[in-house]
């Protein structure tokens, strides 16, 4: 009984410490809150996204990019579960009252939307590239920090359309039966038809499927020139590519943002030859002023980090968008509120981010730009094969 009482006292004390209200934020501090998927299914990217966003804001503070103001970043782990993430969102709003929030998933974006629009009214960026969140009518406070998956397909299809001269190129879509996998497919079908590209097969699998023989045979029968993956991070992409090579399939394989990370070359090694994909951002190793600044900051502050994945760059870029929106509101001599920040996003046009991505223009709460890259297994990196492609 005594032990139990001890436990109760300790728990109560801990709750007391943690629940004590944080000091009232000063006027010259702008608070940015984040619910990050640091544990759970999405942790592979969440940790890096969080680091990228945090570093980007710290970099802005260090360089004084926001005049006369300091940015404060508060974040919590939300574990990639919608109910926990909503709790996290409400908690950060109650404790810190930020003007900008960052969210862990498409699910959180959808669940919080009614209250975001009616009550919280803060600028909301997230890990999601879902086209659903890029609808200014239903999600006026949200933005997608880059192109949506539909736009990424649009970029790949435009690239494909330019490659072949007279013959009608044939593509196959290979996607998972998840929201992530199915999101861009209707748009991709439509866009392919407009560009005169024939969709010869659509293969749907589970994420992480291991035996892909029958899927590869389906592909072989359709004999596409290009196969575009969507809705996977790693498995089964390497398995499909290896097995397709074994079956003598000549198609070129392509991926979107999550499946063009360096890890896929590390996994495929020599078999990565010819693998292509669309990336909205430049890679860590590229030589552009924006990327160099990020590398220099890391060399100084995190000397132990020799490489940062694409998800880190995604977080870093989102931080830059926040800073840009704040600066635009300050330049207009308006108070930094969620409403003013929200209105600043669509005003961003042809914004030069030093080669971290193309010229950034936000239309429909997204910046639909990306570049096609090809794997170079000998060097273990992706290299650009196109210029920045802009789509609508």
């Amino acid at each position: 009984m005594k032990r139990l009482m001890h436990a109760v006292v300790i728990l109560a004390a801990a709750a007391g410490v943690a629940a004590s209200p944080s000091a009232r934020a000063a006027d010259d501090v702008i608070t940015i809150g984040a619910c990050q998927p640091i544990t759970g299914r999405f942790a592979f990217a969440g940790v890096a996204i969080n680091a990228g966003l945090q570093d980007s804001l710290a970099y802005a503070n260090e360089k004084g990019l926001v005049k006369g103001k300091k940015l404060a970043y508060v974040y919590e782990d939300s574990g990639y579960e919608t109910d926990k993430a909503v709790a996290c969102f409400k908690k950060i709003m109650a404790q810190h009252n930020p003007v900008i929030m960052y969210g862990e998933s498409t699910g959180l974006g959808k669940a919080i939307a009614p209250e975001l629009n009616a009550r919280y009214k803060v600028l909301y960026g997230s890990t999601s590239f879902s086209s659903e969140l890029a609808d200014p009518k239903t999600h006026p406070y949200s933005f997608v920090s880059g192109p949506t998956y539909s736009d990424m397909f649009g970029i790949l299809l435009e690239y494909i359309a330019k490659q072949k001269g007279a013959a009608k190129p044939k593509v196959a879509f290979f996607y998972s039966d998840t929201e992530f996998g199915k999101d861009p497919i209707p748009h991709a079908r439509k866009r392919a038809a407009e560009l005169g590209i024939e969709v010869v097969a659509e293969v749907v699998t589970k994420v992480g499927a291991l035996d892909v023989t029958s899927e590869v045979l389906t592909l072989k029968k359709a004999s596409p020139d290009y196969v575009i993956f969507q809705g996977y991070v790693l498995a089964p992409i390497p398995e499909v590519i290896r097995s397709a090579r074994d079956h003598g399939l000549k198609a070129k394989f392509m991926g979107t943002f999550w499946s063009v990370d360096k890890t896929i070359i590390d996994k495929l090694e020599q078999d990565a030859e010819g693998y292509m994909g669309v990336n909205p951002y430049a890679y860590w190793w590229e030589d552009a002023p924006g990327v160099r600044a990020m590398r220099e900051y890391n060399a100084r502050v995190h000397p132990e980090e020799k490489y940062r994945p694409n998800s880190y760059i995604q977080g870093w870029f989102t931080g830059m968008v926040y800073v840009e929106a704040i600066n635009r509101v300050l330049a207009a001599k308006k108070p930094v509120t969620g409403d003013n920040l929200k209105d600043a996003i669509p005003a961003i046009k042809d914004w030069d981010v030093g080669g971290l991505t193309g010229k950034v223009t936000f239309v429909n709460n997204k910046a639909a730009v990306g570049r096609v890259y090809q794997a170079n297994p000998a060097k273990g990196i992706f290299e650009p094969v196109s210029d920045w492609i802009y789509v609508k």
Partner: protein, 347 residues
């Protein structure tokens, strides 16, 4: 100090709350529950609502697993049926919530009958696998029956409206969820004192003996499945109104297991244990989060280790409970009660 419990009429002997002290405490609890939303912020209200919804679902599972002894790994699927049912009726047919939620419950109830049928032939681990199959099938249906469930994107649910009042904030939803939770606790507490409730327990303790004393096994088991999935369906419907969007990702196998953990941590076959279990499983991870937040102030940079550690600590806590108190939180509560019942004359 309480020295006896003297009843003069059958009526008072049959009452749920039998002593003035218990009635007093319950009144105090009710007053606290009514006062709570006026002092608590959004975050605490949200947690209270989440707890209320999960408590209803866990109660259903405890009726099935704790009282009737039928293991189910498909409880989240029934929640999903109720959630999608209510969301469909609310968003497509514009039914008011007080029709949509019970209709969702009824759909879950029907699903429960179907899933419950094999329970006559199989029990124990085999039944667990059969219900697991139900979970997998339900998830597949949620994803692929696009015309009804909205597929992978799910359905958006308009806020519940009651007497012209839109229940769009946590504050307003609180009263709806807690009232529903209270009604379901009251129903469960009474159900278990009826002939049917006792039949559930008889089936759990020894099904052959139960049949010998005249308990119709099949009907009892099916009824238990029906009641249980009604609870899950109602919880799912309330979930839909309270999270405002229903997607297949909301009702995974891990939720079924989480509900089972609530029932086990709280105490199998105990109603108040279920409530404790729901509170424990919802609040302890959040409390650990607060603890990590407090530690961050003294040890910045530690969160990379602390966030994953939270899950480890949570798991260890559950295991510790099962080792030191296999009867769950309900038994801890009983011990505390006994301690104070004798206080200050403790040995």
């Amino acid at each position: 100090m309480l020295i006896g419990n003297y009843q003069e009429t059958y009526r008072s002997d049959e009452a749920l709350l039998r002593t003035p002290a218990v009635r007093g405490w319950m009144a105090a609890l009710l007053a606290l529950a009514l006062l709570f939303p006026f002092v608590a912020g959004d975050y605490l209200l949200y947690l209270a609502n989440l707890m209320g919804v999960l408590a209803i679902a866990a109660l259903g599972l405890n009726i099935l697993t704790g009282f009737t002894g039928q293991i189910s790994l498909g409880h989240a699927a029934f929640m999903g049926v109720g959630g999608f049912g209510a969301a469909f009726l609310a968003s497509r047919l514009s039914l008011p919530f007080w029709l949509a939620v019970p209709a969702g419950g009824a759909m879950a109830c029907l699903a429960g009958v179907v899933v419950g049928v094999p329970s006559l032939r199989i029990k124990g681990l085999y039944l667990a696998i059969a219900t697991l199959a139900a979970q997998v099938i339900a998830e597949w249906v949620f994803v692929n029956w696009t015309s009804a469930t909205g597929g992978i994107r799910g359905l958006n649910v308009p806020p519940a409206r009651l007497l012209g009042l839109s229940l769009d904030t946590d504050f307003k939803v609180y009263f709806l969820v807690q009232a529903a939770a209270a009604a379901h606790v009251w129903f469960a507490a009474n159900l278990l004192r009826t002939r049917w409730g006792r039949a559930f327990v008889a089936v759990r303790d020894r099904d052959i003996a139960a049949e010998l004393i005249g308990v119709p096994l099949f009907r009892t088991k099916i009824l238990s499945f029906m009641v249980s999935s009604w609870y899950a369906g109602i919880a799912g419907g309330l979930w839909a109104y309270f999270v405002k969007v229903v997607t297949p990702e909301n009702f995974p196998l891990s939720l079924s297991i989480q509900l089972l953990a609530m029932v086990i941590v709280g105490g199998l076959g105990s109603i108040k244990g279920t409530l404790f279990g729901a509170a424990f499983m919802t609040l302890v991870p959040e409390a650990l989060k607060l603890l990590v937040g407090a530690l961050r102030a003294v040890w910045p940079g530690a969160q990379a280790y602390l966030f994953p550690m939270r899950d480890v600590v949570f798991g260890a806590l559950i295991v510790a409970f099962l080792i030191f108190e296999p009867h769950g939180l309900a038994e801890v509560w009983n011990r505390i009660k006994r301690f104070f019942a004798l206080w200050p004359f403790e040995k």
